[in-house]
């Protein structure tokens, strides 16, 4: 049997209660590994032993660090040491220490959060009793006991639960973002066999063997077999409880551990931890490599020069130190020059870079406007090396549930009998609460103020509105859980829960249901309706109905559904038709989700006939049955009378529409990726201003045609113009949005060539909505965008289902909502509210990008212009790699004399203030175009640096040529000029002069003079004549007018090009900033006329799964035993629910007749 299973791919064998079997380890040398992973989460990287080697290994993977290590080693060779070794050792050590300790701190944090998860408690069955243990102790094959509201620690096979039929409910919010409950059911065999008491013993004796698939990342499928007592039972995903889900509404469930730790489906879904580097850093690494190659080349040429010089001049003279072989001389000179030119490769850059990133991250955390009072949680930059990427984001991929929406549905308005109750223009929090004290079941949660409606209801003024509420309290699939009054409603659809809740507040309290009866308290009067039939919801029908017999005996069909469906099934001359249209219009403008509620009095005769047909068709073969049933339902749902319209607000997170509008203005493309269903996603997209009311949706059929077309782009444009968009061709491109679902996306796997076409279409579109996608697919979409565009992507989400996408995107943002989020753990930035994104991107991101790109360019300029001087000097000293500076100047230049002003700039620079950044989001676009860090800009900077180095050498050369000035005076002059150049350049780029920047500028220039005086002082010379042999030079040079005049002239000439460029940009180009100051933008109010006309109504009914849970209700399987005791005990062993229900009805009929 096992062999067969292997052939069918079921090779993963789990033996219940057999730890020994699963702990067998294969071992090689002293390393061992088992086939089955343990349940310990390890996201940390270092252990005390491996920290040092690993961190060094990681750090020396950075080319720059390795390069500098080589430099230090080379400087220890005396023959080629043009600069003493300690000059570059100090910065290198500094860089390594800072980086290493940062990594260490991060790793400690990871360890802490790991151990938090690993020590969560769970109950494991060990030798016939459950013992409490920790998650990390769990093994494959263990039997577990899970209590209500516990998080499931591993992927389990549900064996048995305390509920009837071994049903149990799980919340999968961490996996797919849906907060409604899903049911899981144990296999029939285990349910019936393990029920015996005491449970421990039967479970301990359980010796089934599960054969199933190897661990994989497919969340919604599971294939397996249970071999037990010589029988084979098929297992499906319905029997599986996934790690990370939460057990709800179920007292106790018992499960057999199948996959643990890294084998679990959720962890298989979370991608590998990848180190993220920013685009700017990539460009920059490229530049650094370019510089190194150039330097090696320059050193080679200089070395050749040295060889030639040595053969021509020194060969004939013993004035100079001659060393025979010119080739050998050249060889030595080559290495000397590499050392000498190495300061052009900015090592301090990386450390400064990290420092700046860290400070920017602190600024993010310090921003009081990104602090959320309610949770006492400021924003947090968890990854401190991606800040400037925030200023370049072009694609924002957002989760829906918990990110855009609060996942709270509120009953805001309703339309009954020609009257609209409630006011959606008032914010839900500001709604004046109604006096519902007369209602003992009221427990708040109604954000609608309609005293007139209550009055009508209570004093029986309007029968229509009473019927409306009866419909709401009857027509649903909600279940009740009685713990105390009022009952808790549990539903597969959050919409229904809200409607039933609203009805409860208004006096129509749904009390309980059995398979055949629904008990409702209408304004205190308890009435029992007989449930004759439940016409279930499918996404095709878009409505559901219940057929009930009233206590008085009449038959009523209550129906609720999408407006198009309901309105066409109404009686011909029903009243308020025009008003209804108007109300729907108004609700949709307020971004509310609407449902129409209707009623039909069914004649007894029709019912008799219909029920017979129903019974016949229910017995039919499964394949045809659905179609027949649908037709049958259609027949019944006719000639209805409209009762009213409900309007539900899917609560958006605070400020979401404003933020999205702002981000769109800033040139970001916002995509929504959600595990939720299409209707909900589209609805939310409209209500959060992601789609304009007149945006057209491009769905799969159409998109597929476009993708398959030979020339997709043209086809797309054509199709757009051909159709209704001929009216307004300009906006046609922006007014389209693509809607996709998970299964459709799966087709992309087979057709990789569609990717680029799809992206080119998507780029034209306003947005892309992807619904019903798995976490893995979310990441695939991010990968798709990354692959086919060069843009920076950002993913934002709050749940574990977003982790993968957050890790894949360039920048991942985790929302730590009220409940705290799993996503935060793997995110680069943690925010409390979606709306904080606008500050994070438009202010912090933009500033960071601006600051860092200015910083990088300036840094390149200052180091290159300073170090390349040696190339020119080489032509005048026989290519001997003589330094032009005092060695201490080389060491201090980057660290002391020029570091603090640029750091100040990198910390504080603001070209425009925060307010203006938000007011004119367009200024953000320069980051998306990478205007400040493009290769061209960097090349220009390098060119300027080369020019400056040229000037820095040749003007002093002209002055000092054939004069009595000595080498040391020239050194001081050139270093002074270099310091002045760097200082003037920073003054030119600084636009935001704080006291600190002024002070640091002054201090660093003064430091140059002071430190020069110190290193050239008598005191130090007397201690070590060899290291401080410049003694007295600065004393003399600093009072020499020629030195000063030369230094000033040189510095000015060196910065003249950049000064001119700045002036030119001020004069000629209309700077973004100037636009900001001058142009007053007219908001796009002009379109409003058009908007009304094409406004689409959004009426939908949200259920998470394809078909509603009507089957369970009518079969009675899911009716809870905790219902009020008055209820009759139900016997639930029937598999044909409808026919059963029908027999009951017949009985009822016969008795009543």
């Amino acid at each position: 049997m096992a062999k067969e299973s292997f052939e069918s791919g079921l090779s993963w064998e789990v033996r219940a209660n057999s730890r020994h079997f699963h702990n067998q380890k294969k071992s090689l040398l002293c390393f061992g590994w088992g086939r089955y992973a343990d349940n310990v989460l390890r996201s940390y990287k270092y252990s005390p032993l491996t920290f040092l080697p690993l961190t060094l290994f990681e750090q020396f993977q950075r080319a720059a660090n390795l390069y500098f290590l080589l430099m230090v080693v080379m400087q220890c060779v005396p023959v080629i040491a043009s600069v003493p070794w300690y000059i570059s050792m100090i910065p290198l050590l500094l860089v390594l220490t800072v980086r290493g300790s940062k990594d260490l701190i991060n790793d400690m944090a990871r360890r802490r959060s790991d151990s938090q998860i690993n020590t969560r408690p769970c109950d494991i069955l060990i030798s016939q009793s459950f013992q409490s243990a920790q998650w990390k102790d769990l093994c494959v094959g263990d039997v577990l006991r899970i209590h209500r509201d516990q998080v499931i620690p591993a992927d389990l096979l549900l064996l048995y639960s305390s509920e009837p039929h071994s049903l149990c409910y799980v919340e999968t919010a961490d996996i797919d973002g849906e907060t409604n409950l899903k049911y899981r059911q144990a296999a029939g065999a285990t349910h019936s066999e393990l029920t015996a008491h005491p449970v421990e013993e039967t479970l301990a004796a359980f010796d089934g063997v599960v054969l199933c698939e190897e661990p994989n990342n497919r969340l919604y499928t599971f294939r397996g077999e249970l071999h037990w007592r010589g029988e084979c039972h098929l297992l499906e995903s319905e029997h599986i409880l996934l790690r990370g889900t939460v057990l709800r509404n179920t007292e106790v469930a018992y499960g057999l551990t199948i996959y643990t730790g890294t084998d679990t489906k959720i962890l298989k879904n979370s991608g590998k931890l990848r180190v993220k580097t920013t685009q700017t850093e990539k460009v920059f690494n490229f530049v650094v490599i370019g510089i190194v190659v150039t330097l090696l080349l320059a050193a080679l040429l200089l070395a050749i020069g040295s060889g030639v010089f040595s053969s021509r001049v020194t060969g004939h003279s013993n004035v100079l130190v001659a060393n025979g072989n010119p080739v050998y001389t050249g060889f030595l000179a080559y290495w000397s020059y590499i050392i000498l030119l190495s300061p052009a490769m900015p090592i301090a850059l990386y450390i400064s870079f990290e420092l700046i990133h860290t400070v920017h991250s602190y600024f993010i955390g310090w921003d009081i406007e990104m602090y959320w009072q309610q949770a006492d949680r400021p924003a947090q930059a968890r990854n401190t090396s991606l800040n400037e990427e925030l200023g370049q984001v072009e694609y924002l991929l957002s989760d829906k549930t918990g990110t855009l929406t609060q996942n709270r549905l509120l009953f805001r308005q309703c339309f009954v009998a020609g009257q609209i109750y409630g006011d959606a223009s008032v914010r839900a929090e500001d709604v004046e609460p109604m006096d519902l004290s007369w209602n003992p079941y009221s427990c708040g949660g109604l954000y609608m103020s309609a005293p007139s409606l209550v009055e009508k209801l209570r004093f029986e003024q309007c029968p229509l509105s009473r019927q409306f509420l009866t419909a709401l309290s009857l027509c649903h699939t909600v279940m009740t859980e009685w713990k105390e009054v009022p009952p808790v409603y549990q539903s597969a659809s959050p919409d229904e829960e809200t409607l039933v809740g609203a009805a409860r507040e208004l006096g129509w309290v749904f009390l309980s249901r059995t398979r055949d009866f629904v008990k409702v308290s209408e304004l205190g009067v308890t009435r029992q309706y007989q449930l004759l039939a439940l016409l279930d919801f499918t996404s095709k029908r878009r409505c559901m109905s219940v057929l009930v017999r009233e206590p008085e005996g009449g038959l009523k069909l209550y129906c609720k559904g999408a407006d198009i469906v309901i309105l066409e099934r109404l009686q011909k001359d029903s009243p308020y038709q025009e008003w209804t249209e108007r109300a729907l219009e108004l609700f949709s403008q307020a971004c509310l989700r609407t449902l129409c509620v209707a009623v039909r009095s069914v004649p007894e005769a029709l019912w008799m006939q219909w029920s017979k047909t129903l019974a016949r068709s229910a017995a039919m073969a499964t394949c045809d049955r659905d179609a027949v049933l649908e037709k049958l339902y259609d027949e019944m749902e006719q000639e209805m009378q409209l009762l009213g319209v409900t309007a539900i607000e899917d609560r958006l997170q605070e400020g979401v529409p404003e933020t999205i509008a702002l981000l769109r203005q800033a040139g970001l493309k916002v995509w929504v990726l959600t595990g939720d269903k299409k209707e909900t996603a589209v609805n939310i997209a409209y209500s959060c201003k992601l789609l304009d009311p007149d945006t057209r949706l491009l769905e799969w059929q159409e998109l597929r045609q476009i993708l398959q077309a030979p020339d997709p782009g043209a086809n797309f444009f054509k199709s757009r113009q051909m159709e209704l968009w001929a009216v307004d061709t300009n906006t046609a491109g922006a007014k389209t949005a693509v809607v996709l679902t998970g299964p459709e996306l799966a087709e992309f796997d087979q057709r990789p060539e569609w990717g680029s076409t799809f992206m080119s279409v998507a780029e034209q579109c306003q947005s892309v909505l992807c619904c019903r996608v798995t976490p893995g697919q979310k990441a695939d979409i991010v990968t798709l965008v990354r692959k086919h565009t060069s843009s920076v992507t950002m993913a934002i989400g709050d749940g574990a289902n977003d982790v993968n996408m957050i890790k894949t995107a360039h920048v991942g943002v985790g929302l730590a909502g009220v409940e705290g989020g799993q996503a935060v753990q793997s995110a680069d930035f943690a925010l409390s509210q979606f709306r904080f994104l606008q500050r994070l991107l438009l202010i912090h991101g933009r500033w960071s990008y601006k600051r860092i790109s200015i910083f990088l360019r300036y840094f390149l300029f200052k180091t290159c212009s300073f170090a390349l001087v040696h190339i020119w000097f080489g032509f005048f000293n026989g290519f001997s790699a003589q330094t032009l500076y005092e060695i201490w100047f080389i060491a201090m230049y980057t660290v002391l004399y020029t570091a603090s002003p640029i750091m100040c700039l990198a910390f504080f620079e603001q070209d425009v203030t925060a307010e203006i950044s938000l007011k004119w989001p367009e200024v953000y676009k320069s980051g998306q175009r990478q205007e400040l860090s493009s290769p061209l800009v960097i090349c220009l900077t390098l060119l300027h640096a080369v020019y400056s180095s040229f000037v820095l050498f040749f003007i002093p050369l002209g002055v000092f040529h054939n004069t009595a000035f000595d080498y040391q005076t020239m050194s001081v002059t050139v270093s002074m000029a270099a310091t002045f150049t760097a200082t003037i350049e920073i003054m030119l780029v600084t636009r935001y002069w704080t006291k600190i920047s002024v002070a640091s500028l002054g201090v660093s220039v003064v430091l140059y003079f002071i430190v020069s005086r110190i290193t050239q002082s008598r005191f130090l010379f007397e201690r070590s004549p060899k290291d401080y042999f410049f003694i007295g030079t600065s004393d003399k040079a600093f009072i020499d007018p020629v030195v000063w005049l030369t230094a000033l002239l040189t510095a000015w000439t060196a910065v003249l090009p950049s000064f001119t460029a700045h002036a030119l940009s001020v004069i000629q180009t209309a700077h973004d900033k100037h636009k900001v100051h001058s142009v007053s933008l007219q908001p796009t109010q002009l379109k409003t006329n058009f908007r009304r006309a094409t406004s689409l109504r959004r009426s939908s009914y949200a259920l998470s799964q394809g078909a509603g849970p009507g089957r369970l209700i009518s079969s009675g399987t899911c009716i809870r035993s905790t219902a009020p005791p008055v209820d009759e005990k139900m016997t639930c062993s029937n598999n044909l629910p409808l026919s059963q229900g029908q027999t009951h009805t017949k009985d009822y009929n016969s008795t009543s007749m």
């Binding site: 020194t314 100079l320 500033w847 001997s880 603001q910 002069w993 010379f1021 004549p1025 005049l1045």
Partner: protein
Amino acid sequence: MMASSYSAKDEDGHITVTGPGGAALRSKKPENTAFKQQRLPAWQPILTAGTVLPAFFIIGLIFIPIGIGLFVTSNNIREFEIDYTGVDESSPCFNCSQNFSWNSTRPCTCSIPFSLEHSYENNVFMYYGLSNFYQNHRRYVKSRDDSQLNGHLGSLKPSKECEPYAKHDNKPIAPCGAIANSMFNDTLELFYNDPNGTKVLIPLRATGIAWWTDKHVKFGNPGDGLNLTAEFQGTTKPVNWRKPVYELDSDPLNNGFINEDFIVWMRTAALPTFRKLYRIISRRDNMVPTLLRGNYTLEVVYNYPVRSFEGRKRMILSTISWMGGKNPFLGIAYITVGSVCFFLGVVLLIIHHKYGNRNNSADISN
């Protein structure tokens, strides 16, 4: 001159939340300080054409006069230069330059007549100039022992840097190294040919030509400097020298390592063509020029070989000004850069008028 906006923003100060019962339950709320909220008061210059363009003209207008001033000053300096290498056969030093060896015992002398067109006022400085002499070559510059030169003969083991001029005949060389070894050792004497036929030796001052710090701090004789012969016992003279270091001068304050000629030589030049101060001709009194207009003879004891590296030797007489010796380059450079700035200003002005007008409104805002 500059449009500016000074944005001083309110500063609310620190806010800390203390929980009930006095226990400091700190809220995680960030402090509302100007620093943390990035609202530091700052001066934000708004650059406009009106502020940037004048800068070019102003800098041009500053630089050009400075340049002219420097140029005029430089031109007022009297300078006379004569090449005595003896490359030409007609040159009086031709013979000396031909039969050269560092260690020849018989000094070769030659005398070069020249005439000064103008009389030289004030102190006149006498330089020797060398060309194509790479005194800035790394291995040459390195080849010295500052510790030894400071008077620490100590262990008699010169620094390794001095190799291969560290030891000779197993004795340490003092002063060691290539720089010292190649010290300039021509002797120059200046005679004034009086119109009445007599040659008058012009007194040359050999002291005061080195830097004070060099003479008093950087260089020092071993011991108390009184009995140099004894102090330098156990060392040997550099290979190319004719006499040991303690016989450079009879004046004990100008002998040994603190000999000023030696110090001047040891202060290496920046570039391959350089001059070094040799002697000073002091002004006698205010009435008579230091050097009269007329004919002179330069008597050279020709010891220093330069032909091997195609070098040249020159003697320069120069007066000085506040900016030192003659230096036309600096003045010209200032004038050039000043003019370039001016020119750029004009070009930008034209561009501004041609293209920039439509942005005028933008410039004025805020």
